[in-house]
Structures are given as structure tokens and as C-alpha cells.
């Protein structure tokens, strides 16, 4: 049962080409920084969508980014490990912690799930902020995290090299997630979202599927977190608090979670919007909040579903103009 993989493959190729073409157009450090942020956010939203695709909004997703980030930063600065090792170790730590946390959180569903994952995210944030200040840096943050360093004769310390590294990571992650989405696994996730009881009676172990997506998503979030730590070189517990988490929801939901392209469109649009609105600090979250509300009210399937929705609306308007006014009980 493989869905057609041609269109997704072409899309990934497009992202890869776009990412590769950017340095040919500009090497301005500001644009490279924005592009790196887009790719980092894209990695996060794609892994977040994986969980949303089973119908769960995991409010602790950003915390696993934080766990990866802090784990790698400490292993590099305290244990002297290489970034190239901690990149994977950090992601693994996030995935390993996701097993018990996911097992607990996924015992409940619906509104309880939002709340328990939010509780976990606050525990993690408060932990980084208030405990072991000598280790995590407390409220003033963890500073002095080195850049990745060299690998195979390449030095990763300039904006361009780091952009290239993030681009490779992002394309690999997107490729893997797109393949997953087209596989039986992706179909099952869709079935769980639409009718988990039906899926359960058809023999799908819903809990195990949800846990697998939770752990996989956390691994990818951890990976993005490690890059974030060594890219920004400073970590604050608030980097992984409610505000960036809501931003993640905005990125993912505005594009639409029904297809893998929703988060891609949403992340690129909203990261650019965020840069444009940066000057107007208070207006930024005002605009984002309003866009989120309007999208959920008028286009709950997201922006990528708008063409289809517009077509349906047009058909309805046409049907209404041909039918006599007030006739019938059509909803």
C-alpha cells in the first residue's frame, strides 16, 4: 500500500535545490541567518506534524528540543566530547526521555493530553531555570557553547558552513519524514487521526503508533536542539517555554497538517513574516495570534487546503444563485 511517491520526492528535491541555490544568490550573513532559522524551524515543524498527524497536540515538543540542546552543550563543554558525536547523543537523549514521558502522557487523550504535555514542558523549563544552577546556568542562561568545529577537513564556524550543515540535516529529516508519510505508517497515522477507535478494532495498536511518533518526533526535535545550541552558542530556559511552543503550533497549523507541505509553506511564510515584523515587537504576536484564530475559524485545514476550499465555496455560491432563495433545508 504505497501512495504515489513522485510528488513528495519532487518536493524534497525542490527544497534541496532551493537550499543549495541560496548561497549562489546571496552570502549576506543576515539572509543566511534567516534561511538557517527557516530550515531549523522546518525540521521542528515537520517532526511536530508527525505527532499532530495522529491527532495529538504535544505541548512538550519544544522541551525535547531543549533537552537535546542542553545535553549536547553540557557534553561538549563539560565532558569535552565532539559536536559530531553529541549531535546524535543529544537527539538520542531526547528520544530516550520521550519513551517514559510519552508512555505516561499518551495514557490520556484529548484535552487531558494538552494539559499533561504542557505540565511536562513546564517541569522541564522550571528544571533548567531553577535547579543545578552551576550546570544549566539558571536564569542567566548557559553561555560559552562552542561552534561545531571541524569535520573531514571542513571548518564549521562561519554562517555559510553552518547554513550548509543545517540544510543537509533538514533535507535528510524531511526526506525521511516524507517517506514515512507515504508508507503504511503514514496511512495508519491518518486512520488514527480520523477514527482511532475504528483503527483499534481493525487491529492497529494505537498506543504503540502514537508512542512511536512521539519518540521519533522527539529525536528530530533533539537534533534541531543540538544544532540550535551550537548555532546560537547560548541557551535560556525560556527558549523552550510556552511562547516558542505556540510559535511552533502557528508554523505547523497555519499551513495545514493534512499534508507534509502544510508545515513547509507555513514555516517559510511565518519565519519571513516574523523577520519583517521584528521591528514591531508587540505587533508580532498580535498579528500571529490573529492569523492563527482566523485560520482555524475560516480555513481549519490550513493554507495549503485553500485552493480546494475556494473551489468548494465557489460551487456552493453557484448552487445558491441558481436555487430559489430560502428554498430547502440544506445546511
Amino acid at each position: 500500500m504505497e501512495r504515489s511517491a513522485v510528488a513528495p520526492a519532487a518536493g524534497v528535491a525542490l527544497i534541496a535545490l532551493g537550499a543549495a541555490a541560496l548561497p549562489l544568490v546571496t552570502r549576506d550573513s543576515y539572509y543566511l541567518d534567516v534561511a538557517t532559522t527557516i530550515l531549523m524551524n522546518l525540521t521542528l515543524t515537520m517532526s511536530f506534524r508527525l505527532q499532530v498527524s495522529t491527532g495529538q497536540i504535544n505541548m512538550a515538543h519544544i522541551s525535547f528540543m531543549g533537552i537535546g540542546a542542553y545535553a549536547s552543550a553540557l557534553l561538549v563543554t563539560r565532558a569535552g566530547l565532539s559536536f559530531w558525536a553529541t549531535l546524535w547523543i543529544g537527539a538520542l537523549v531526547a528520544a530516550l526521555l520521550a519513551v517514559p514521558i510519552g508512555s505516561v502522557a499518551l495514557r490520556v487523550s484529548g484535552p487531558y493530553y494538552f494539559l499533561i504535555t504542557f505540565a511536562f514542558s513546564e517541569v522541564v523549563r522550571l528544571f533548567f531555570n531553577n535547579f543545578f544552577e552551576g550546570l544549566f546556568g539558571g536564569p542567566s542562561g548557559l553561555v560559552g557553547i562552542p561552534k561545531p568545529g571541524r569535520l573531514l577537513g571542513l571548518v564549521f564556524d562561519g554562517k555559510l558552513a553552518l547554513y550548509g550543515l543545517m540544510a543537509v540535516l533538514c533535507v535528510v529529516v524531511v526526506l525521511a519524514l516524507v517517506r514515512l508519510d507515504c508508507s503504511r505508517f503514514g496511512l495508519t497515522a491518518g486512520a488514527i487521526r480520523q477514527a482511532d477507535l475504528v483503527a483499534e478494532t481493525l487491529g492497529v495498536n494505537v498506543f504503540r503508533y502514537k508512542l512511536t511518533t512521539f519518540v521519533l518526533g522527539s529525536f528530530v526535535a533533539g537534533l534541531a536542539g543540538v544544532f540550535f545550541a551550537h548555532y546560537r552558542q547560548v541557551l535560556h530556559s525560556s527558549d523552550f517555554g510556552l511562547e516558542p511552543m505556540v510559535l511552533l503550533v502557528v508554523f505547523t497549523v497555519i499551513g495545514g497538517t493534512g499534508s507534509v507541505w502544510g508545515p513547509v509553506v507555513g514555516t517559510i511564510l511565518m519565519t519571513i513574516a516574523s523577520e519583517l515584523l521584528r521591528e514591531l515587537h508587540h505587533y508580532e504576536i498580535l498579528v500571529f495570534g490573529a492569523v492563527l484564530i482566523l485560520t482555524m475559524l475560516f480555513a481549519p485545514e490550513g493554507l495549503v487546503a485553500l485552493p480546494g476550499a475556494a473551489r468548494r465555496l465557489l460551487r456552493r455560491v453557484r448552487a445558491r444563485t441558481t436555487a430559489p432563495a430560502g428554498a430547502g433545508l440544506a445546511p
Binding site: A119, V246, V253, L286, L297
Partner: protein, 286 residues
């Protein structure tokens, strides 16, 4: 450690618990009627704080009259929010939750633009302390707690005795059956959302003199309210009171052993334990 110290710690913990119970009751009322988790609930609390700041601190209106006006204003704001935004999302938990995240940002940023980012101090309405049996309580906290208890009792009577209150309980139990009995669900939803927000507004008015008023002031009480309703069980009034007392007690005792910032983690640990052992909360039904 002396008994007095323990009692004092517990009293400190219980001190504001009833106000947070008020916030929690608003959340749980909205949840039981519309099946919506309103993450922006703290922003209605914040509105109550600003009403208090402008009327009481700036224009010198009587403290209790201000409180009533805060409750009414925020209640109306809640009805408007339900009609404009949440009405069509009734029963669609995921979408409603995401919308409430958006509303949280809109209201917080709106408050920053309208009222400024700086904290606004509200003077205390009462001074002095009450001493007895080796413990000390400030009169202000006593009045605030008693006012919160009065509001909780008023809500209980409203839901038990009055017609709209009973309609709300009917809709919470079974919307279809309630509609068949002639209950107007649209009106009850709007009213329920309004009453829920009004409770938050009242809590904001009560705590405004204790903490300064600011656009982000809603974050802490709403988090406490979430903890309370999870511990007590969503949709249960006695559960919320029990959850509030438990949270207050644990935080009060915890403050003896750890810093006040670190104490915040205890509530979340309780949430995780309760959800593991009894996912529907201590008093919650099926």
C-alpha cells in the same frame, strides 16, 4: 521544627488558594459546557486586574464596587469572545485549543499596546495583621480569601438553584437531552463562557492589590488553575476546591524546604502523579 512554623507554612499556602480555585472553576465551567480548554483564560483574569487598576487605583471607586464591576465587565468580554470566536468550535477540542492559543497572544499583545508594558501598582485596600496561636495572617489576604469563598458559594448556589445555572448543568451533562427539554444551547454556551470568564475577572480584581497589574499577569494563575482542575478532576466543583487546598498545602510546605521559584515544580509533579494514578482526577467522574 515547631508546630507553629508548620501551621504558618500551611496557612501561607492556603492563603491565595481559594482565588486560584476561582480561576479554576471558570475554566472547568467552560470546559464542561463547551468542551473547550481555554488557554487564554488567564488573559480574562488580566482584564479583571486592569479594570481594578483603572477604577480603584486611578479613580478611587470603592474596592468592593470595583470588584463587582470587574466581574461584570470581564463577563461581558467573555460573552463577546464566545459569540465571535468559540461558538462554532463547540465540541471541537483540538481546533478550539489552538484558537485559544491565538487569543492568548492577541489579548496579551493588545494589553501591551493599550495599557503599556510596565507593571502598574495597585494600593492595598486593607492593612494590618491578625495574630493568634502563634501564627500571623495579613488582613488583606484574609479579606481576599473570604471574598473568594463568598464567590465560590455564590457560584454553587447559582448552579444549584437558578434556572440558567441549572440549564448549564443540563447542557454539561447531555447537550442533546437539554436541547430536547427546551434549553437554548446557544444562550447557555454564551452565558456559561461569560460566567467562567467573570470568575477569572473577579480573581484578577482580588489579586490586583497583592501583585502589580501587567499584561503577562495571567500566566501564573492560569497555570495554577490547570493544575487544580487536573488534580481535582475536570468539571467538578468540589474537586476544584479540594485540588486548590491540596496544591496550596503542598506549595506552602514545600516553601519550607526549597526556593519559591522551585516550589512551582511541585504542582506539575502532582499533576503527573494524579494523571498516572487516577487520570480523571480525584473527584472526576467517568
Amino acid at each position: 521544627m515547631s508546630i507553629e512554623l508548620l501551621v504558618q507554612a500551611l496557612l501561607n499556602g492556603f492563603g491565595l488558594a481559594m482565588v486560584y480555585v476561582l480561576v479554576a472553576l471558570g475554566l472547568t465551567l467552560i470546559f464542561s459546557i463547551l468542551e473547550i480548554i481555554n488557554f487564554a483564560h488567564g488573559e480574562f483574569y488580566m482584564l479583571g486586574g486592569y479594570v481594578t487598576y483603572y477604577l480603584y487605583a486611578l479613580f478611587g471607586v470603592n474596592y468592593f464596587a470595583t470588584l463587582v464591576l470587574a466581574i461584570l465587565t470581564v463577563g461581558i468580554a467573555g460573552v463577546v469572545a464566545e459569540r465571535l470566536i468559540f461558538h462554532d468550535l463547540r465540541g471541537r477540542a483540538l481546533n478550539a485549543f489552538i484558537v485559544s492559543l491565538g487569543l492568548l497572544w492577541v489579548m496579551q499583545a493588545g494589553a501591551q499596546l493599550a495599557f503599556g508594558v510596565l507593571d502598574k501598582p495597585v494600593p492595598s485596600a486593607f492593612s494590618g495583621v491578625v495574630r493568634g496561636l502563634g501564627v500571623v495572617i495579613s488582613v488583606e489576604r484574609l479579606v481576599v480569601s473570604l471574598s473568594a469563598i463568598v464567590l465560590i458559594v455564590a457560584l454553587y448556589l447559582f448552579l444549584r438553584v437558578s434556572r440558567p445555572g441549572r440549564a448549564m448543568r443540563a447542557v454539561a451533562q447531555d447537550p442533546d437531552a437539554a436541547a430536547l427539554q427546551g434549553v437554548n444551547i446557544d444562550v447557555v454556551s454564551a452565558l456559561g463562557f461569560g460566567v467562567g470568564c467573570a470568575l477569572a475577572g473577579g480573581a484578577g480584581g482580588l489579586l490586583a492589590p497583592l501583585f502589580a497589574v501587567s499584561p503577562a499577569m495571567g500566566a501564573l494563575p492560569v497555570v495554577k488553575a490547570f493544575i487544580i482542575i487536573i488534580i481535582g478532576g475536570m468539571g467538578s466543583l468540589p474537586g476544584a476546591v479540594l485540588g486548590g487546598l491540596l496544591l496550596g498545602g503542598v506549595e506552602g510546605l514545600g516553601a519550607l524546604f526549597m526556593g519559591s521559584a522551585a516550589v512551582n515544580i511541585l504542582g506539575f509533579v502532582m499533576v503527573i502523579v494524579v494523571l498516572l494514578v487516577r487520570p480523571r482526577g480525584l473527584v472526576g467522574g467517568a
